[in-house]
Assembly symmetry: C2
Homo-oligomer: 427 residues x 2
């Protein structure tokens, strides 16, 4: 098949009629598919069931420093959990605090604290007329939801293949002291799957922001979430890069085992400079008496160390990989060479990012929905839910089964074709 | 022995010398006792060990509404956990959200949200010149720490035997619209052990505050924490009392299983009006994808229902009661009739509240410390750590063993006597 845009109106009309027929059949299949969220499948969660036995009624419930994990206390997390999460993030032990079950919650609390109390003696953000954040796009809707919730203006920055466009980032942060931060998913970015190059990480760490309290929100959510055993890209440790660049306090790094053990019952961690950790702990001492140390213990007893987690992640990859490959295979077969879409082939993470012809994303998502398939809302990967070219669609292959995923990808490709033809006919 | 204040200077001097000798001996014993925090003892925690087997690798991990507790989602908590916590608080199911492991964290988040976002369309508190809170005293130091942390002025209100002095509370809240809230521990108050009478609860619910966004922080931390099987005082349900009084949104109620199951790994809950719950959930949706549902499931599977918790609490009472009784027995024996102190004999909760002669509390705590016994800092039960009459001392009998508790009480009584004599001699 040649590129759609090379087709005559007559050819397009003919194509539209056969695609419409095909779509009507698909609608009659009564599909019920959900590719909307980056949610582990039951099969992935099953792999971690042993964790539920790792601490039981006959277990020694003391941490390695002798603390009774059942009782109050231990604001930093138990030492062995701090070591484990430090290894997951590839940072030093003393830079890490282990929290409860949600790194999103740590991010929210971080922004909330910066709003109310500020950092490093600077004015709390809620006292300023204007606070802005840079948002590389496409990006993670829940990040954008946090900044929007706190009334922080969002400025989009384009993503390149190796991370955010650093020329743009440097220009913006150095010239505007109301720009207070940037959201980053440095490894297997959500949704693009891109991995920040060493150059991008170094330039990020070496930023010279006009705002003294500029902060990088480094969401290392997919640190060990590889799809392939033999192709595992690495990123530089932002904490030590910031330190080397003379910006030790400029970054907060977040990670969790939500997509390692259990999405709802994992452990989450923050990594930051000693000064930042000290500042965080001043508030944390007021906020709680300590997070769930038994769940931290459960994780350490079960995984032992980073190697244990890596082995676990390779089992997960075996579950996830066929789903990604099913989507890629269908899209390659159905859409290659048509000039109506491009898509990513990530080496890890939870998403495939699809770019339709401008002005088609919303219509594609709506068409899919009418045939029984829920996708993440078009625009969700942009601040305020507004994709200016109405082009990006996030595909989350993790939750459905492989066979559902194949059906879903086929329906998706059909909807892309149909909407693209309609678009071309309307021009 | 007659009242110390009836003794002549000579008699006091003689007494001082014998007490000093006794204290020197106590110092030589090299005691190491900690009565500083309301922390469960290992023996109490042991009672709950079965909870660690309640969900294991062969368990059905679905909640009663079919949700996979391992996965994301379920912002309200699983239905069966909401029912359980509703029964613990004696409120309706639909008024309850179940969170993670810390009710203190919910309180902190609540104040933080009111600061940044306000409630019911009123101005966020951080935008106001002045925000004040009423603090019944003596009270809980961690409550005061939260209000102080957010720069909220604290106004003390005296506690009567049946709760805060409501004449004072009514007068203050009706006349000053910068007074935005009050901290309450309505049952077995910390540290006084008092139980709010029905009249106090009804007057609290019927307040007509000048501030439309006045909020009662109802920390029902000791809802089922009785020391005796046959004397279990009850309090009215503040949620429905506020509703009846036309103030449905005026209260947030907090509870947890921290002192039921595990202090560090329990489940916590918020109860509030439907409008409040809706408002809370608007922020919660941004803050997290959901709390640890597996730990909620663990609690429900283990306790089954409120009856199950009550049976458990009676086992805990058997561990706790002898410690309280040891303190009471020693204080009765050593201090009765001397006119140098009064103390509470609570029916539940975690504390005994001791009132020394004015100006003696700090000196007593210091004397105890020099002989190897850590008490909660004198003044801790007052905002800013300042007890204007330097009189109140909080005794936390839960953590030490009964025999340590007896030794501790004896040392404490000795220090009270010695400091009181020194005080009387200095006057």
């Amino acid at each position: 098949m040649e590129k759609y845009m090379m087709l005559s109106k007559d050819e397009l009309r003919e194509l539209e009629s056969s695609l419409t027929e095909e779509y009507a059949k698909a609608q009659q299949m009564g599909l019920k598919l959900d590719m909307s969220r980056g949610k582990p499948s039951p099969a992935q969660l099953d792999i971690a069931m042993g964790i539920l036995d790792a601490v039981n009624s006959s277990s020694d419930i003391k941490s390695e420093d002798g603390v009774d994990c059942r009782n109050y206390g231990g604001l930093d997390g138990i030492p062995e959990a701090r070591h484990l999460m430090a290894d997951v993030m590839d940072v030093s032990y003393e830079n890490v605090i282990v929290y409860g079950n949600s790194s999103l919650n740590i991010m929210y609390d971080t922004i909330s604290r910066l709003m109310l109390e500020g950092t490093g003696g600077n004015t709390p953000w809620c006292k300023l007329d204007k606070v802005k954040f840079l948002c590389p796009v496409p990006g993670y809707d829940r990040h954008f939801a946090i900044t929007q919730h706190f009334g922080i203006d969002m400025i989009t920055v384009p993503m390149n293949e190796d991370g955010p466009d650093m020329d743009t980032v440097e220009r913006l942060v150095s010239s505007d002291d109301s720009i207070k931060g940037i959201w980053c998913v440095p490894k297997f970015s959500n949704p693009g799957g891109c991995v920040y190059s060493d150059e991008v990480v170094r330039r990020m760490a070496a930023l010279r922001p006009a705002a003294k309290d500029f902060r990088i929100m480094w969401d290392n959510a997919y640190a060990l979430h590889y799809l392939y055993e033999d192709n595992q890209p690495q990123i530089l440790d932002i904490i030590s890069e910031c330190e080397k660049a003379g910006n030790p306090d400029m970054v907060y790094e977040f990670a969790s085992t939500s997509k390692i053990s259990f999405a709802g019952a994992g452990i989450a961690a923050l990594a930051a400079s000693k000064a930042n950790i000290a500042e965080v702990k001043k508030a944390l001492t007021i906020q709680t008496i300590g997070y769930d140390k038994l769940n931290q213990l459960r994780h350490v007893r079960y995984y032992k160390n980073k190697d244990g987690i890596m082995k676990h992640m390779m089992k997960q990859a075996e579950v996830l990989r066929p789903k990604f490959e099913a989507v890629e295979e269908v899209l390659d077969r159905e859409l290659s060479g048509l000039g109506i879409g491009t898509w990513t082939k990530p080496l890890g993470g939870y998403f495939i990012s699809f770019n339709a012809m401008p002005g088609c994303a919303k219509a594609i998502v709506a068409k899919c929905k009418e045939a029984g398939m829920v996708l993440t809302g078009a625009g969700a990967t942009y601040p305020y839910g507004q994709d200016p070219s109405d082009s990006n669609i996030r595909i989350a292959p993790s939750f459905p089964t492989v066979s559902d995923m194949r059906k879903a990808a086929e329906l998706f490709a059909l909807c892309v074709k149909l909407v693209s033809v309609e678009k071309l006919l309307s021009e």
